[in-house]
C-alpha cells in the first residue's frame, strides 16, 4: 500500500517536473529575445546571452522604430480594412448558406471550403500578374483585396456554423412583422452573433498582419510594404545586429499578440461551437 502511494507521489513529482521543464523551454525564446533587444552590441558579443541586461538600452528600439515606422503604418492600413471587410462580406454569404435551404447550398459551401486547403504560395505568380495588369502593383489595395479574397473560405465556414445556431423562430417573427431578408441579417442574426463576428474580425486581423507572402509578392518598395517584410530587411542589414533583429521582431508582434490575448478566450469558444463540439 505504501509503495503505491510512494509511486503515485513520484509520478506526480515527475509530472510537475516535466511540465516545468517544457514550460521553461517554451518561455525561453521570448525571454531571450526581450533580453537581447535591451542590450547593446558589445554586451551581446562579449557578455553572452544569459546575462540579464543591467540597464535597459532602448537604442535598438528607437533605431528600429525609425526604420520600421513606415512598415508598421502600412500594416495597419492593409490589415484593418481587410479584416473588417472580409468578415462583413462573408456574413452575407454565410447567412444564405446557413439559413436557407436551396439547391446548390452544399456545393457552394464545398466550393468555398476547398479554398482553405490551398497553400497560398502556389498562386503568387498569377496574383502578381493580375495585380500588375490592373495597375495595382505596389499598392495597399492589391494586398487588401487579396487578403479579403483568401479570407473568404475560413470566414464563411466559421460564420456559417455560427449563424446556423440561431433559432429560426426569431427570424419568422421578424418576417411576419414585414422585415426584409437583409433586415433580418442586420438586425437579428448579426447582433446575436456579434461576439463571433468581432472575434472573427480579430482573428482575421491577426492572420493578415502575420502573413508574409502577399506583402512579399505584391510590393517592391517601402511605400506599401507590411511589417513582416520590413523586419526581414532589418535582418539582412550589413551590420547584423542581434539586438535590432530582436527588437524588430518584438515590435512586429506587439499588436497581434495583444489582440490574440484579449480574444483568445472567445476565440476558443467560437472554435468549439463552430466545429460542432458542444461545450
Amino acid at each position: 500500500m505504501e509503495m503505491k502511494v510512494k509511486k503515485k507521489q513520484l509520478l506526480r513529482f515527475m509530472t510537475y517536473l516535466g511540465v516545468i521543464v517544457i514550460t521553461i523551454i517554451w518561455l525561453i525564446p521570448i525571454v531571450s529575445a526581450v533580453f537581447i533587444s535591451f542590450k547593446t552590441e558589445r554586451e551581446i558579443m562579449y557578455g553572452g546571452v544569459w546575462a540579464i541586461p543591467k540597464t535597459l538600452h532602448l537604442e535598438s528600439y528607437t533605431q528600429v522604430w525609425s526604420e520600421v515606422q513606415q512598415y508598421f503604418i502600412n500594416s495597419i492600413i492593409i490589415t484593418v480594412p481587410a479584416a473588417i471587410f472580409s468578415v462583413l462580406i462573408a456574413c452575407l454569404g454565410a447567412y444564405a448558406l446557413a439559413r436557407k435551404q436551396f439547391k446548390g447550398n452544399g456545393l457552394i459551401l464545398i466550393f468555398f471550403l476547398s479554398g482553405m486547403m490551398i497553400p497560398y504560395y502556389v498562386l503568387i505568380v498569377p496574383v502578381f500578374r493580375l495585380m500588375r495588369s490592373m495597375g495595382l502593383h505596389n499598392t495597399y489595395l492589391a494586398q487588401i483585396l487579396t487578403n479579403i479574397s483568401f479570407g473568404m473560405p475560413i470566414c464563411i465556414f466559421m460564420l456559417r456554423n455560427f449563424f446556423a445556431t440561431i433559432p429560426f423562430e426569431l427570424e419568422d417573427a421578424a418576417r411576419v412583422d414585414g422585415c426584409s431578408e437583409l433586415g433580418i441579417l442586420l438586425k437579428i442574426v448579426i447582433p446575436l452573433a456579434m461576439p463571433a463576428v468581432v472575434t472573427l474580425m480579430g482573428f482575421q486581423f491577426i492572420w493578415i498582419w502575420n502573413s508574409l507572402i502577399w506583402g512579399l509578392a505584391l510590393t517592391s518598395g517601402k511605400s506599401a510594404q507590411p511589417i513582416m517584410v520590413g523586419i526581414l530587411r532589418l535582418k539582412g542589414a550589413h551590420a547584423i545586429a542581434w539586438n535590432l533583429q530582436c527588437a524588430g521582431a518584438l515590435i512586429s508582434i506587439i499588436l497581434p499578440l495583444c489582440v490574440f490575448l484579449i480574444l483568445q478566450k472567445s476565440l476558443f469558444r467560437a472554435l468549439a461551437m463552430a466545429s460542432g463540439v458542444k461545450g
Binding site: P29, M152, N210, W242
Partner: protein, 289 residues
C-alpha cells in the same frame, strides 16, 4: 429552415462569390494556363509540357517534396501526442493551470516570420542561447552550427513551428476533454478500470473527432510552410531546408522562370485537391448537410 430558390439568395452570395472567384479562383486558372508557357524578354511563349518534364528531373523539387512530407509527418505526429499529453495533465487541475495555459498559448499569436528571426538568434553558433547553454552545462559536444548544419537545420525549423502551434492544439484537446461526459468516466473508474484503460479505450475513442480536426488543421498548416524557412535559412545549407513553398517562390522571383513556378504550383495544387477530395468524401460520409 426556409426552403427557397437559388435565384432568391443570389444577392447575398454574389459579393462573397465575386471576391472569392475574382482572385483566388481566377488565379488558379491562370496558374494552370501559365504552366505551359515560358517567360522570355517580357513576353510569354507556349512551350507545351516542357516544364512538367523538367519537374520530374529536378533534383531540388524532389528534395523539397521530401522535406515538405518530412515536415508534415513530424508535425502531425507531434500534434497528436504532445499537446494531447499536456492537455491531459492540465485537465487534472494542477496548480497554476492558467499560467501554464498562457505559456503555451502565447506563441500562437506570434507570426512565423518574427518567430523565425527570434529563433535564428537562439540558434546562432556564437551568440545563441542554445550553444552557450550547452557549453555551460558541459555538453559542449552537442553544440553545433544549428542552422548551418544540413543534417539538423530542418528539424530546428520544424521545432519553431511546433513551438508556435502546440498551444493551440492543446487548447483544442482541452476543450474536447472538458466536454467529455464525466459521469461515464467516473462510473468506469468506480468499476475498477485503471487510468490507462480509461485513456485508451474510452477517452481517445470519444475524442476521435477532435483528433481528426487536429490532424486536418496541422496537415494543411504544414503544407503552407514558407514564412519560417524564408525568414531564416531561405532553403538552408545546401537544399536541406528547401520546401515546396520556397522552391516555387525561388523559381518565380529569383530565377524568373515564371512558367516553371506555375508548373510546380499546378502539380502541388492538383495533389492537394485530390487529397482534399478524398478527405471530404470520408468526412461527408454520414454527415447530413
Amino acid at each position: 429552415m426556409q426552403r427557397t430558390r437559388l435565384i432568391k439568395v443570389l444577392p447575398f452570395l454574389l459579393l462573397p462569390l465575386l471576391v472569392y472567384v475574382a482572385i483566388e479562383v481566377f488565379t488558379i486558372v491562370d496558374m494552370f494556363h501559365l504552366s505551359f508557357q515560358e517567360w522570355k524578354s517580357g513576353v510569354f511563349h507556349y512551350i507545351g509540357l516542357s516544364w512538367y518534364k523538367e519537374i520530374f528531373q529536378d533534383r531540388y523539387v524532389r528534395i523539397a517534396t521530401l522535406n515538405t512530407v518530412k515536415w508534415t509527418s513530424i508535425s502531425v505526429v507531434w500534434a497528436i501526442i504532445v499537446p494531447f499529453g499536456i492537455a491531459l495533465l492540465l485537465n487534472q487541475g494542477l496548480k497554476g493551470e492558467n499560467f501554464f495555459k498562457a505559456v503555451f498559448i502565447i506563441p500562437q499569436g506570434i507570426a512565423y516570420t518574427a518567430a523565425g528571426l527570434m529563433w535564428a538568434t537562439i540558434y546562432s553558433p556564437d551568440v545563441g542561447i542554445l550553444n552557450i547553454t550547452l557549453k555551460k552545462l558541459g555538453l559542449g559536444n552537442f553544440a553545433r552550427p544549428w542552422l548551418g548544419d544540413p543534417n539538423v537545420a530542418i528539424y530546428c525549423l520544424i521545432f519553431v513551428k511546433i513551438w508556435i502551434r502546440t498551444g493551440f492544439y492543446m487548447m483544442v484537446y482541452l476543450t474536447g476533454l472538458q466536454a467529455l461526459p464525466k459521469e461515464v468516466l467516473d462510473a468506469a473508474r468506480v468499476d475498477g478500470a485503471n487510468a490507462w484503460h480509461r485513456l485508451f479505450h474510452m477517452i481517445i475513442p470519444m475524442m476521435k473527432m477532435i483528433f481528426v480536426i487536429v490532424i486536418t488543421l496541422d496537415f494543411i498548416e504544414s503544407f503552407k510552410t514558407f514564412d519560417i524557412v524564408f525568414a531564416t535559412t531561405r532553403g538552408g545549407p545546401g537544399a536541406s531546408t528547401e520546401v515546396l513553398g520556397t522552391r516555387i517562390y525561388k523559381a518565380a522571383f529569383q530565377h524568373w522562370e515564371l512558367g516553371y513556378s506555375c508548373a510546380i504550383a499546378t502539380v502541388l495544387f492538383l495533389t492537394t485537391m485530390v487529397i482534399t477530395a478524398v478527405y471530404l468524401h470520408i468526412l461527408m460520409k454520414g454527415k447530413k448537410y
